[in-house]
């Protein structure tokens, strides 16, 4: 018996008898039917099919579910549910890329994202770079009704210059004016007694009177007059420098008076120094007498 070229269906030979024609046609039809069915196994709307490992037999893939996508499983097509395609796992993660998708965990508080070609992803979290110029706030303290105010561990080797900004300083519950002094600490909180030389001049608001409030002390330098409660508050700057010659400071303070009483308004220009070259770590503000209140902010000045 002859067969067809592609599917091997049996067909009558050229010499076959006509009486066997019906049988031959039925056999051929059955073969065509079987082959056609094998090649078209879909039964339901949306079905797909693919070539199976058996020649001339396709395999049906029932229609998938909504949202599924066609993928390859074990070498054949299959529907699959889409899974999370990101590498993110944790709050704050960033989606980055190296040679493939990559996760960058959130950085430390206050750190900023910066480019770094040495990193696999080209990114990293890092502390903000210290500005090449400008001020860095080291400490800000408001104090009230105290006999003295210590600022410990505010000076380090990081900066050669510091700026102390005083504001709103006045005596509390005390009559008459006094003076405001400054002393220093070494180590954690050891009072520095190595010698501080200083002086301050008060120039009245009229410019007519210049009064010396200078001091010459081993451990305390006067930096301004301190007005009576309610009669004015001292504010201004102290610039403190630490060089090879020791600690030096200049101050430019002023008393800001009650607008209704300008008698005591004045500007204080002064300075002080010590021979200590390296180990001043903090300072103390204290009135000559009485409690006081106010605010101080300490800044480091960038070295370059």
């Amino acid at each position: 018996m002859a067969t067809t070229t592609n599917y091997g269906w049996t067909t009558p030979d050229d010499t076959a008898l006509v009486k066997d024609g019906a049988s031959a046609i039925r056999t051929l039809g059955s073969s065509v039917d079987t082959t056609t069915k094998n090649l078209n196994p879909e039964t339901t709307l949306g079905d797909l099919s693919f070539r199976s490992s058996t020649s001339n037999v396709n395999t049906r893939i029932p229609i998938g579910s909504s949202g599924q996508h066609l993928t390859v499983v074990a070498g054949v097509p299959a529907w699959a549910t889409a899974s999370d395609q990101t590498p993110l796992t944790t709050k704050g993660d960033l989606f980055t890329f190296s040679t493939l998708d990559a996760r960058l965990p959130v950085g430390t508080n206050t750190h900023v994202l910066t480019a770094d070609s040495a990193e696999a992803t080209g990114l990293k979290w890092a502390a903000p770079a210290v500005s090449a110029s400008g001020l860095t706030l080291i400490s800000a303290v408001s104090f009230g009704n105290v006999a003295s105010q210590d600022f410990l561990s505010v000076f380090t080797s990081t900066y050669n210059n510091y700026l102390i900004v005083l504001s709103g300083i006045q005596r509390i519950n005390a009559a008459g004016a006094s003076t405001l002094g400054i002393s220093f600490f070494t180590g954690t909180n050891t009072a520095y007694t190595g010698g501080i030389l200083g002086g301050v001049l008060r120039i009245s608001h009229t410019g007519a009177a210049v009064t010396g409030y200078g001091s010459y002390a081993n451990s305390l330098a006067t930096i301004s007059r301190l007005e009576e409660d309610g009669q004015g508050r001292v504010a201004g700057l102290i610039q403190l420098s630490r060089g090879s010659g020791g600690l030096t400071a200049t101050s430019n303070l002023k008393s800001q008076n009650n607008p209704n009483d300008q008698t005591n308004m004045g500007t204080y220009v002064g300075g002080f120094n010590s021979s200590n070259t390296t180990s001043i770590t903090g300072f103390k503000l204290l009135p000559a007498s009485g409690n006081f209140d106010g605010e101080a902010r300490i800044y480091g000045l960038a070295n370059s």
Partner: protein, 80 residues
Amino acid sequence: MNKLDKIKELKKSHPTLNKGVNDEVVKLDADEYAETIARWADAELAQEAEIAKAEADASAKSALLDKLGITADEAKLLLA
């Protein structure tokens, strides 16, 4: 008033004292309290003495002007 009396007065008006240490307020210990009160006493006595001297000088000046029968401005003119 001598220093001892001034100290007594200050201790009565300030039975305890505080200091600020960075962000904290701490009560002065006995030594710190004694040192602070003594320092306050010295400062206040010096201030009171200064005021008393200024007042005495002013009185003496006024008495002298009266004795001379001239005003302060006339005295300035005389010394110019």
